[in-house]
């Protein structure tokens, strides 16, 4: 694979790779997302990390005004289960409207749950950008 093809693949993955997160959220009710999880995968934090890597770039791409903040906590101790693994949805006034518990869940499950709580509409087929 040439250098350029690899880059194009990377770009297309952002804009057209994950159909599930090709949505337009309602900016009034969902102005920001806060994610908190561990650096390390243990205690069921892997789904959250995968959700961030797979779905959030596309979500940000179609919702440029959405503020997404990811807080990752370093926790080497496997017995310490106190680190939260949550996704918070913030309204425009900064209040947390809903929370998704991401622990021990697959990235697709987290995405489905996110879609049920957030008011959204699909990006029309004609607006999907492919390079």
């Amino acid at each position: 694979m040439s250098r350029v093809t690899r880059q194009l693949k990377f770009l297309n993955k952002i804009s057209a790779g994950t159909p599930k997160s090709q949505i337009l959220v309602n900016p009034e009710k969902c102005a920001a997302l806060n994610l908190t999880f561990q650096y390390q995968n243990h205690n069921g934090h892997m789904g959250a990390r995968k959700f961030w890597r797979e779905y959030l770039p596309t979500l940000q791409f179609y919702n440029p005004s959405l503020q997404i903040r990811v807080t990752r906590v370093k926790n080497e101790d496997k017995k310490d289960v106190g680190v939260p693994c949550i996704l918070q949805v913030l309204a425009k006034d900064g209040n947390v409207t809903s929370t998704v518990e991401m622990r021990n869940k697959d990235k697709d499950v987290i995405m489905d749950e996110f879609l049920t709580i957030v008011e959204h509409e699909k990006v029309p087929e004609s607006d999907i950008i492919e390079v």
Binding site: V4, I14, L56, P57, Q60, F61, I129, V131
Partner: protein, 284 residues
């Protein structure tokens, strides 16, 4: 016949395997043959020169092609949308956008370097001032709030590694310049931080110098490209565009003042972020 026979064991010996050569004189022929064959992949001087000329011509013609022909070409606003998406969730401090321009220059051309002043700077520029003159030091400290101000004792501290090299620019008065280059040349030199009269960072009157360099960021050519950080992902499109234009203007100026007969050409320019892809933009 002999030639074909001898080539096989010759290659075997190169790959490090044991070989058994039956008779003594075959081995001698082998040795004699190996010398030219091991040199066959190397080019003669003439060929190397021709190849270099050919490659330069290729790079020049690539530089003349418009950026919009490239498969990764995008308008800046669209590119920024992609880069911001790629950068999602990363710590703020890591979300730096930068442009990299490939330069096509003749051999022996001095590397391109210059200063760029951005309408929206990325961060406050930290300046280190080396001087033994108390009056100058006071100006630097009180009027301009320089990051580090000091004389020989500061030099000693940097040499010992007690102070982190986190400044972007360093200035000095002439009486310090010599001892600086002898003592700190090895440390500051490779980072392009060593004050020198040639770069215009040594002066009797530091106040003026500091004022000029307060809002500017130095850049220089590394290899055959120039890289400048132009913004953060949190900047607006307008601010980033203004910064890119400032960088372009300063680079054109630097090209015009380059001391050479044939000025370098600006070739493909990519806009990229810390974790994102490189996207070709229109720059020239």
């Amino acid at each position: 016949m002999l030639a074909r026979f001898s080539r096989t064991p010759g290659r075997l010996s190169l790959s490090g395997q044991t070989l058994r050569v039956s008779s003594f004189h075959t081995a001698r022929i082998l040795n004699a043959e190996e010398t030219p064959s091991s040199n066959a992949s190397k080019l003669t001087k003439d060929q190397a020169k021709k190849r270099e000329i050919r490659r330069l011509a290729q790079r020049k013609s690539a530089a003349r092609r418009p950026a919009s022909d490239h498969r990764l070409y995008m308008p800046v606003t669209k590119a920024l949308r992609f880069l911001r998406a790629a950068e999602v969730g990363q710590p703020r401090s890591q979300q730096t956008l930068s442009i990299t321009t490939i330069l096509v220059s003749e051999r022996g051309t001095p590397p391109l370097s210059g200063n760029v002043s951005f309408p929206k700077p990325l961060k406050d520029i930290k300046i280190a001032v080396f001087t033994t003159d108390e009056k100058q030091a006071q100006i630097a400290r009180e009027e301009y709030h320089c990051h580090l101000v000091g004389g020989p004792e500061l030099v000693e501290k940097i040499k010992q590694g007690e102070i982190a090299l986190d400044f972007d620019k360093s200035l000095a008065t002439p009486e310090m310049a010599n001892s600086l280059s002898s003592q700190l040349g090895r440390i500051l030199g490779p980072r392009g931080l060593l004050p020198s009269a040639k770069k215009g960072t040594v002066s009797e009157n530091l106040g003026e110098l500091i004022r000029d360099s307060m809002g500017t960021l130095p850049y220089r050519q590394r290899g055959n490209c120039v890289s400048i950080a132009v913004g953060k992902c949190s900047f607006s499109d307008q601010q980033i565009l203004e910064n890119i234009i400032a960088a372009q203007r300063s680079m054109k100026e630097a090209l015009a003042s380059q001391k050479t007969k044939k000025p370098s050409l600006l070739s493909q320019t990519t806009l990229t972020s810390t974790h994102g892809p490189g996207i070709v933009i229109d720059f020239a």
